[in-house]
Symmetry: C2
Subunit: 414 residues, 2 copies
C-alpha cells in the first residue's frame, strides 16, 4: 500500500485526485500495490467534496506522517513549494511535481537532496503537460548523444500565433480570445514574454546535457512584437512564425539555449503543431529527429503525467541514476551574440532602393520577400546566416541611415 | 561490468556494436557500470573488423558463458531467434530484441519466461525504430486508459505513398525507386502487403490492452491496389492516403485491430508524416492525443533503441512489472465486418447518373468527389459511417448491377 499526499488542490491537483479515483484499478495494477491519496494540502476548504476529510492546512500533518511515502507538489510558484519539497525529500519521501518554475530554479539541488536520501524527485509534468518527454529524453534516448532540442513549449503563445496565422487576428485580439477561453492568465506576461517556455527549455537542456541551465542566463524574447505583416512575410517565404525554445551543445562545451519567435518552414514537423498543442523535437546522433506532440497543458493531461510519475516512484527501489544533472556553479550558456543564425528583417525607408542597397551592404546576399498590399516604402528580406552581433550592429547602422527596422525575427531550419 | 552478446551482425547488429563503441562513455555513465560487447554470433566471418575475435558461430559459446548477462537478438525471423531467446531467458540472461516477428508471434510466452527467471525481455526497437514508443506506452502513459492507437508503422510503404502523392509516381515506379534506394526488399511483400505494419500494431495493441493479439487474427490490407486516381480523389477530398495500423478497445472487451490504407484529413498530424518516417498516435483518456514521430527504421535509429534497452536491462534489478501481457488463448480481435467506418468508393458504369442513384440507395447520403480529367463514366464518393458488412454487401450489389467498383478505401478521422 502506497499512501500519497497532494500539495495544492487547484486545476492539476484536483485532476490528480480525480485520476487516481477514475483509473484506480489500472493504476494499482501498474504500481503493483494499492495506491491511496491520504492527505491534501490546501488553504481553501472544500466541504462538499466526498474526500473533504483528507484536507489539511498544516503541512506538518503530511511531513510527519510516516505512512505517506510520496508527496505530489502541484501548488506552483517557487515558495513555499521549494521549502516543502526539500523538507519532504529530507524526510525520505519521494516527490513528484509539475512545477516548472521550481525545477528550473532548483532542479540540481533537489535532485541531489533526493539522491542523498535515496528517494526520487520526478517532474515529467513540468514540460509538455501530458506529452512524455522527460522520461524518453533520459531513458529511451539514453544511447544517443543529444545534438539539439527545439520545441514549441507554450500552448498559450502557440494558440495566439495560430489565430494570427490562420485567421489574421491581431496579437491583441488573439490574446483577448485566449484569455476568454481560459488559455491565458489575466496577467499573460509569463506566457507571451517567453518566461514559461524559457523554464521548460532550461529543464530539457539541463537533463540532456547534465548541467543546470538557469533561466536568467537564457536570452528570452516573447511574441508581443509579432505583427500580421510579419505573418504575411513568413507565409510568402514558405513558413510560419512559432515561439521556439531551443538548446544545442556547442563544440567548446558551452550550450546555446534561447527562446524566441522564429520563421519555420512549412515542411517542418514543428510548423504543423497548432493551437494549444506543444511539440518537441529531439535530435539524437543515432536516432535522428524524434518529435513528441500533444496537449502541453490542461488539467487531465498534466495530471496523467503526474500520476505516471507517482506509479514509477512507487515501483522504484532507489534514486533513478539517469534523471539527474549537476550545478556547475557557472554560466554554461554561451552569449547569444556570439552565435550565428539567419534573420528575417522588415524595414521602411523613404527610398526603398537605397534601403535595399544598404541591406546588401550590411548583410550580404539577402532574399527579398513580398506580401500582398505591400507599401512602396517597405522592404523585407532574409539574411544569410550571420553572427547575432553582426546583425545587431547592422540594424544599428541601418537606423543611423534613416532606415527604420520594424521587425527582426530569427529564421531556423528544423 | 556488464557483458553482452549480440546475435546477428547484420544492419542492426553492426549498428549496436558501433554505437556501443562510439557513445561508450555516455552509455557507461547511464548504465552506472562498464558495458562490453563480449561475443557476436554470426555464421559469416568478418576477419577485417577490429573486433573480429569476438565472433562465434556456436550459440553455446554465448549461452554457457555465465559472464554474459544480456543477449541482444537482432537476427530477425522466427527461427532460430525464438529458440535462442527462450534458451537465454531460461539461463537467466535478459534479452533485448528488435525482432517484431518474434515479439508479435511469441511475446506473451517470452515475457512469461522472462518473469519466471526474474530477468527482462525488452523490445523497444521492434516498433518505430528509434522512436521511443514501447516505453512511453507502458510507463509514461501508465495513468491513462488507452482509448486508441493509430500509426504509420512502415517506412517503405509511407515512402511509396509519399512519392505517389507528391510526384504522381505510379505505385510500380515508386516501389522500384524504394528498392533502388534500399528502402524496400527485392521481395517487398512483407512491406507492401501490410504484414510488417500488422506485426507492429499487434505488439502495440498487446501492450496497451494486456492481451496477446496475433497477426493472423488481424485484417490486413496493403497498398498494392492504390492508384494515382485514388490519390487525386483523396486530394480533392482534402486529405492523403496513408497505410494505417490501428487498435481500439471496444465496449464488449474485444479489440478492433486492423491494418489498411486510409483517407486521412490533411489537418491530421498523421497526414504530415512523410517519406520513410513513422508516426504513432496514442489517444489516452487523460492525456488526449500524443503523437510520436521519427525515423522508423535504419541502422543507427534502430540500434539506438536497442542500446537504450540494454542500458535499462543492466540497471534493472527485477522483471519490469508493466512491460507485460498475457495470452488469453482466444481470439481477442473483433471480426472487422462487424465494425463501422466511412468508405471512399470509386466506380465506373455506362450510366453515371444511374450509378450515383444506386450508390445513394446502397449507402445513404454520400459525398461526391471529383478530380481533374475525370472520365465521364467514373464516379467517386465518400459514404457515411456504415458497418463493413453493409459496405461489402453494397459493393456486391453494385457489381451485380454492372457498376464496376475499382477502389474502396476506408476514411478515418484522426
Amino acid at each position: 500500500m502506497a499512501k500519497i499526499a497532494v500539495l495544492g488542490h487547484g486545476v492539476v491537483g484536483s485532476g490528480v485526485v480525480e485520476l487516481c479515483h477514475k483509473n484506480h484499478a489500472g493504476i494499482v495494477k501498474k504500481a503493483g500495490q494499492e495506491v491511496e491519496v491520504k492527505r491534501i494540502l490546501d488553504l481553501r476548504e472544500f466541504p462538499d467534496l466526498p474526500y473533504a476529510d483528507k484536507f489539511t492546512k498544516n503541512y506538518d500533518d503530511i511531513l510527519n506522517d510516516d505512512e505517506i511515502s510520496v508527496v505530489v507538489e502541484v501548488m506552483g510558484g517557487l515558495n513555499p513549494a521549494y521549502e516543502y519539497v526539500k523538507a519532504a525529500l529530507n524526510k525520505k519521501k519521494s516527490v513528484v511535481t509539475s512545477n516548472k518554475e521550481l525545477v528550473a530554479a532548483k532542479g540540481a539541488e533537489l535532485l541531489a537532496v533526493a539522491k542523498e536520501n535515496n528517494v526520487n524527485f520526478f517532474f515529467e509534468a513540468s514540460v509538455g503537460g501530458g506529452i512524455p518527454i522527460i522520461r524518453p529524453l533520459h531513458q529511451c534516448l539514453a544511447a544517443n548523444e543529444i545534438k539539439e532540442i527545439a520545441g514549441i513549449l507554450n500552448g498559450t503563445t502557440n494558440f495566439i500565433l495560430t489565430k494570427m496565422i490562420r485567421e489574421q487576428m491581431s496579437f491583441e485580439d488573439a490574446l483577448k480570445l485566449a484569455q476568454q477561453l481560459g488559455y491565458a492568465e489575466r496577467n499573460p506576461a509569463a506566457d507571451v514574454e517567453g518566461a514559461d517556455a524559457c523554464r521548460k527549455i532550461c529543464i530539457l537542456a539541463s537533463l540532456a546535457y547534465g548541467m543546470h541551465v538557469y533561466p536568467e542566463n537564457v536570452y528570452t524574447e516573447g511574441i508581443t512584437k509579432i505583427t500580421l505583416e510579419d505573418v504575411a512575410y513568413a507565409d510568402s517565404w514558405g513558413g510560419v512564425i512559432k515561439l521556439i525554445g531551443r538548446a544545442k551543445a556547442l563544440d567548446d562545451g558551452k550550450l546555446l539555449v534561447m527562446v524566441h519567435p522564429a520563421f519555420i518552414s512549412s515542411d517542418s514537423q514543428l510548423a504543423g503543431i497548432d493551437d494549444v498543442f506543444n511539440g518537441i523535437m529531439v535530435r539524437g546522433d543515432a536516432t535522428g529527429d524524434v518529435v513528441f506532440y500533444g496537449k502541453g497543458a490542461g488539467k487531465l493531461p498534466t495530471a496523467s503525467a503526474v500520476v505516471a510519475d507517482v506509479i514509477d516512484v512507487i515501483k522504484a527501489t532507489k534514486t533513478n541514476p539517469t534523471l539527474t544533472w549537476v550545478d556547475t556553479h557557472e554560466n554554461v550558456v554561451v552569449d547569444h551574440m556570439q552565435t550565428s543564425v539567419a534573420f528575417y528583417i522588415r524595414c521602411v525607408a523613404a527610398d526603398g532602393a537605397f534601403a535595399e542597397k544598404l541591406a546588401e551592404q550590411c548583410f550580404g546576399k539577402v532574399q527579398m520577400l513580398s506580401r500582398p498590399d505591400m507599401p512602396r516604402e517597405e522592404i523585407a528580406f532574409v539574411t544569410p546566416e550571420l553572427s547575432e552581433q553582426k546583425v545587431y550592429d547592422s540594424i544599428q547602422y541601418l537606423k543611423e541611415n534613416n532606415v527604420d527596422v520594424l521587425s527582426a525575427i530569427r529564421v531556423l531550419d528544423y
